[in-house]
């Protein structure tokens, strides 16, 4: 539709429906993290739309944020994961959120800003960036204008309305036992998650399972299956 006609239609809508709320204002609210215990310690019961939240890098942060991205998609909205660190492997990536991999950190920041400002994404997650204050200002404004919840995994916490940190509690891990009764693999990890906001501090402990990629041996005439054999 030509811009002039679009403007005319918008003017007509405002005239006929003066109480109508613009589209970008529909979705103000919060996005549930998908983990009840985590929602309980957040000031608004989830990530606030239009705000910037920061996770400090650590065990469990990516897992919890991935889960939130999946939940957003399950509820019919859209989420994007911007992977600057290039550390995601395909076996653990579930279809649903859109995975964007920029060539450079700057391109990643620009991509995050674009997606957050567009209003087409309920949640935008950015991993692997270390933005300076200027970049944080831009990202914060983009999130505010687009109504997206923008969540960063970074050490930079300035301008973040919500700061989260996760710390594993290794003494309380759940181990799966071998037939000999020895601990063989970690089945679940217990995390202590802390949430900080202006005038707010809360913490909780939660256990999340560990997912292992299937180890597939490759029988080969020159490198046979070496399980149980003595190393050379």
């Amino acid at each position: 539709m030509p811009p002039a006609r679009a403007a005319a239609v918008q003017a007509l809508l405002v005239h006929r429906f003066p109480d109508a709320v613009p589209q970008h204002s529909w979705s103000r609210g919060t996005i549930s993290t998908g983990v009840t215990a985590l929602d309980a310690i957040l000031p608004d019961g989830g990530y606030q739309r239009g705000r910037l939240a920061v996770w400090s890098p650590g065990t469990g942060t990516a897992a919890l944020l991935r889960s939130t991205c999946l939940r957003v998609v399950a509820e019919g909205e859209r989420s994007a994961w911007i992977d600057i660190s290039r550390s995601i492997i395909g076996a653990c990536w579930q279809e649903g959120p859109l995975l964007i991999r920029p060539d450079t950190p700057v391109a990643g920041l620009r991509a995050a800003e674009e997606q957050a400002r567009s209003g087409g994404f309920a949640l935008v997650a950015l991993e692997g960036a270390d933005p300076d204050t200027t970049a944080m200002v831009r990202l914060s404004r983009a999130a505010h204008e687009g109504g997206s919840a923008l969540v960063l995994i970074t050490h930079t916490t300035s301008l973040a309305s919500l700061r989260l940190a996760s710390r594993p509690l290794p003494t309380e891990y759940t181990w799966r036992r071998s037939p000999l009764g020895e601990p063989s693999v970690v089945a679940a990890v217990k995390l202590r998650v802390e949430a900080r906001a202006s005038g707010w501090f809360a913490a909780t402990e939660l256990a999340i399972p560990v997912w292992y990629d299937e180890m597939r041996l490759a029988p080969d005439y020159s490198f046979p299956d070496r399980r149980g054999s003595r190393p050379r």
Binding site: Q23, G34, T59, G60, A62, A63, R66, S67, L70, R71, V73, A74, G76, E77, R78, I82, S85, R86, S87, I88, I89, G90, A91, C92, W93, G96, L98, L99, I100, R101, P102, A107, G108, A111, E114, Q115, R117, S118, G120, P168, P170, Y173, P183, V185, V186, V189, I208, P209, V210, W211, D213, R216, L217, A218, D220, S222, F223, D225, R226, P231
Partner: protein
């Protein structure tokens, strides 16, 4: 003059393959059509024909060229008929006495009038009926009234009547595509060397071209910017937007990014912008009840901008390769993926720690102890310092790749004293230890 009909596709050893001939003719004519024989009753109609589209061209000169090509290909006596209607061109080619028979423009009907009705290849029943009525030539049939023809000879008779009047409605060639939009500007009083200073001119050209594209309802898949150099020659830069679009801002962003890196070999005295490949601006059918539908278009546009700015939209294609690092290849997705809906439920939504690999394995120094014949790490030294391990489980012994890149690796899942789960690897052949990644 619109049509050139070519017959006599016979060589010394017999009929030549018209498809092979058409390939040779296409080097000289923009459009060639092969009409295999077999329709109609006359012997002439069984012979294959070649048609050339002469619209907008000098028909006689094109016919001479094509006849020359046919002779080079081995045709003994090729004939060409040139006319404004296909039926007249066909009659001229098959019944003309000269190598090239030209039907004067606007006289197709008069020209075919003396020919017997059989040149129009009527069906046998209709031919008998016409013969019984005393209609022998095309002119006889053309002189009749359409209502009378329809009454006596039916629909097939009307169809033949149209042909006899050289009113051939068959569409041999589709309409020529409209020229793709382009714009250019040249100047002679001065020259420019700095590409940045050309942005103003390019912006105006882009505005003109994108407006033309929008009017056609199309978007450019590829467009080219051409700098005319002062001492002759030109420098071309092609652009491939992530989705077909006619958005001036997107074009200018792409061009600006390119100009930042351009070093022109000479001063510029002209700029051209042309569209090379276009696609229709498609609208995608969505579900009105879908919560993401309302915002799909803006999401697609935002993704397209990100893709234009050195980013990729990826989805994994996983194999069963034993090495995790080689298990995944990433497939690039278009921005239109924003319209896709994914159904997710149940346990797949629950958080779980998954292994994140470092971009490259990081070499480390490891202190080990022996367990069941394998060295098991106790602590390791990386760039951050020593890390004591609470537990180290493994190894998972993986080997293979004899045909390409052999590998033999022992993988250990370790819990550091600070609680981080890491994967350590030992190359079984060289004994080198590395950190592969951690569970996050």
């Amino acid at each position: 003059m619109s049509f050139v009909c070519l017959t006599g596709l016979v060589g010394q050893s017999g009929p030549l393959n018209p498809t092979d001939l058409s390939v040779a003719l296409l080097e000289r004519a923009p459009k060639i059509l092969v009409e295999q024989g077999g329709s109609g009753q006359s012997a002439a109609s069984v012979e294959p024909l070649l048609w050339a589209d002469a619209r907008g061209m000098q028909a006689r000169s094109l016919a001479e060229t094509l006849i020359g090509v046919l002779r080079q290909q081995g045709c003994q006596s090729p004939h060409a008929g040139v006319a404004g209607s296909a039926v007249a061109a066909k009659v001229a080619a098959t019944h003309g006495t000269e190598s090239i028979t030209m039907v004067p423009p606007g006289s197709d009907r008069c020209w075919i009038a003396p020919f017997p009705i059989s040149v129009l290849s009527p069906e046998p029943d209709l031919a008998n009926l016409l013969e019984g009525t005393g209609i022998e030539s095309c002119g006889d049939l053309a002189a009749l009234d359409q209502a009378a023809v329809e009454l006596h000879f039916g629909a097939a008779g009307v169809q033949l009547w149209h042909l006899a009047r050289a009113d051939d409605r068959s569409l041999l060639f589709g309409p020529p595509p409209p020229p793709l939009p382009h714009a250019s500007l040249e100047w002679t009083d001065y020259v420019l060397r700095d590409p940045e200073r050309l942005l103003f001119v390019i912006n105006r050209l882009a505005g003109s071209v994108t407006a033309s594209l929008r009017a056609l309802g199309q978007g450019a898949r590829t467009f080219t910017l051409i700098f005319s150099l002062d001492r002759g020659g030109a420098v071309e830069h092609s652009f491939h937007p992530s989705r077909p679009n006619a958005d001036q801002r997107t074009w200018m962003r792409l061009i600006r990014d390119e100009l930042e890196q351009v070093r022109l070999p000479d001063a510029v005295n002209g700029v051209s912008l042309r569209v090379d490949v276009v696609l229709p601006s498609a609208s995608i059918q969505g579900d009105l009840l879908d919560r993401g539908f309302a915002t799909a278009q803006v999401a697609e546009a935002a993704l397209a901008r990100a893709l234009d700015e050195k980013a990729c939209l990826l989805s994994p294609v996983n194999s069963l390769h034993p090495l995790l690092r080689r298990r995944t290849t990433w497939r690039k997705e278009p921005a239109a993926i924003a319209w896709r809906r994914t159904e997710l439920h149940g346990r797949c939504l629950e958080p779980r720690l998954a292994l994140y690999l470092l971009p490259e394995p990081e070499p480390i120094t490891v202190e080990t102890e022996s367990r069941r014949g394998f060295p098991v790490p106790q602590r390791y030294l990386d760039r951050e310092g020593w890390h004591d391990l609470l537990e180290a489980r493994g190894p998972e012994c993986i080997s293979g790749g004899a045909w390409e890149d052999p590998f033999a690796t022992d993988l250990y899942c370790c819990v550091r004293i600070d609680g981080v789960l890491v994967q350590l690897a030992r190359d079984a052949r060289s004994g080198v230890w590395t950190v592969e990644g951690s569970w996050q």
